[in-house]
Structure formats: C-alpha cells, structure tokens
C-alpha cells in the first residue's frame, strides 16, 4: 500500500505492508530513531508522537492509518539544538529526565497536553501524562518541567498543592 506521510514537515512517500506499525515506519523506513519502542503494548508511551497535532502511541497506529497525515517526532520539535522547543527547554532546565529513554515520548505527550490545556494544574499534568511511564520514576521533575513549559512556576505549584500524598505520586483518587 502506498502511503504519503509528512514527517517533521518533510513529505515522504513509501510502499508499506498494511501491518507495518507507524513507529517501525518512522524508525526503520525513515531512520528517525528518536522515537523509542518501550513496551510495544500501548502501555508505556515511549513511542508517543504527534499525529496531526495530537499525541498518539505510534506502536499502536498502523503506518497506513497515518496516510495523508502530518507526524511530528522529537527530531522535528525544536528548530535547532541551540533553539529548543519550550517543552524540550523546560525538560532540560528542570532536569526532567534521568536515563532518557521515556523522554521523547514524555516530551511529545507534554506538547499534546499543553496544546489542549495551556495552563494545567499539577494534577492535570500528572493525569495528562498517566499514559507515559518513566522507569527511573523521575516523575517529579517531569511534572515540574511541564508546569515550567506552560509558563508557571513549579515551586508555586508545589506550594499550592500541599495535599499531595507524596511528590511524584498521584493516587488518582481526587482526594
């Protein structure tokens, strides 16, 4: 099947098997390896990319489903290494990564989240990123980074939500 997908602003045409996953198309056909494959079962979010501006887990999208669409990966997010996208810059500033494996997915999910909620609360950030797992358990600084990227002061957000059970944890109970 022929697919025409614009990746990071660059149109690409390819002949693919229907069963080819989008993440494999990005990594193996197009050589864009920033997008990681973590669990391959739609659980971890490491493969998150933007599909027509919305975050999707690319291990659970067929390349043919992205035909005619625009895909943005980590490679295409920032204009240049010296001019980082605000979310990428905030991850660096707040040290929102440890081993870095989840980072491309976290950043792309955060971009999608901030597109829908430009000024999220800390809880909204945690809930918005609940589909992305960090095996280093470095969530605290990731949340701080997303708050920072939204123009908020993460320290002020910490003080505003003192009822959290523990930093880095969301009980999901709403309590």
């Amino acid at each position: 099947v022929k697919v025409h997908i614009t990746v990071n602003g660059v149109p690409s045409d390819a002949e693919v098997e229907p069963r080819l996953l989008l993440v494999h198309h990005l990594r193996d056909t197009l050589g864009l390896t920033a997008t990681n494959i973590g669990c391959d079962t739609t659980s971890c979010g490491a493969c998150t990319v933007l599909l027509d501006g919305e975050s999707v887990k690319s291990c659970t999208v067929l390349a043919v489903q992205a035909d005619g669409a625009e895909v943005t990966t980590m490679e295409g997010l920032s204009p240049s290494p010296d001019e980082l996208h605000p979310v990428a810059a905030a991850f660096r500033q707040e040290h929102g990564l440890q081993c870095g494996f989840c980072t491309p997915g976290m950043v792309m999910a955060a971009v999608g989240l901030l597109h829908e909620h430009p000024r999220p609360t800390e809880r909204e950030v945690r809930e918005g990123l609940e589909g992305n797992l960090c095996r280093c358990t470095g969530y605290h600084n990731i949340v701080r980074a997303v708050l920072r990227a939204s123009g908020q002061d993460p320290d002020a957000a910490d003080e505003a939500a003192p009822d959290l059970v523990a930093p880095g944890f969301s009980t999901g109970s709403g309590a």
Binding site: V1, P18, R19, L21, D40, D67
Partner: protein, 81 residues
C-alpha cells in the same frame, strides 16, 4: 512487523463499509482507532484477513442534540468527548 498479514481498505462511506462487511463476514474486522484491536493482533489473538478502516468516516463522528437527547456517533473519539 508484528501482526500477521492482512489486507487493508479505507472505504469512503458507511454504506461501502457495510457492503464490505457483508461480503467478507467474519474474515473482516473494523478498525476505528485500533487501541483495542491492534494489541490483540500483535498477540495473534485476533487474525483478521481484512481490516476495514472506518476511522475517518465523518458520518460516524458527531455529538449533537436531538430534541432532548444527545446523540453521539459511534466513531466519535474519546478526545472529542
């Protein structure tokens, strides 16, 4: 490539999708977003011969007020709701 081989079609209308389903019966599966079906296909719990992609059928995507009821199209995405 992880799932088994299958054919893929993206019909232009609900009528065309229904006709395909009628022709292929149990050999075909409907694909909307795929977040339930694709993991099953990766595990080979589902092995359809044909995927009928209805993910772009705008006929199925709506949230509208019908009298005193709210009608939600079967293809309406969770994000839209």
């Amino acid at each position: 490539v992880i799932p088994a081989e299958f054919d893929y079609v993206r019909p232009e209308s609900v009528d065309a999708a229904v006709a395909l389903l009628g022709e292929r019966g149990d050999d075909a599966s409907l694909l909307a977003g795929g977040h339930s079906l694709l993991p099953l296909m990766k595990l080979r719990f589902a092995v359809p011969e044909l995927l009928i992609d209805i993910g772009r059928l705008e006929e199925l995507q709506y949230v509208r007020l019908d009298g005193d009821e709210i009608a939600i199209g079967a293809g309406t995405r969770h994000a839209t709701l």
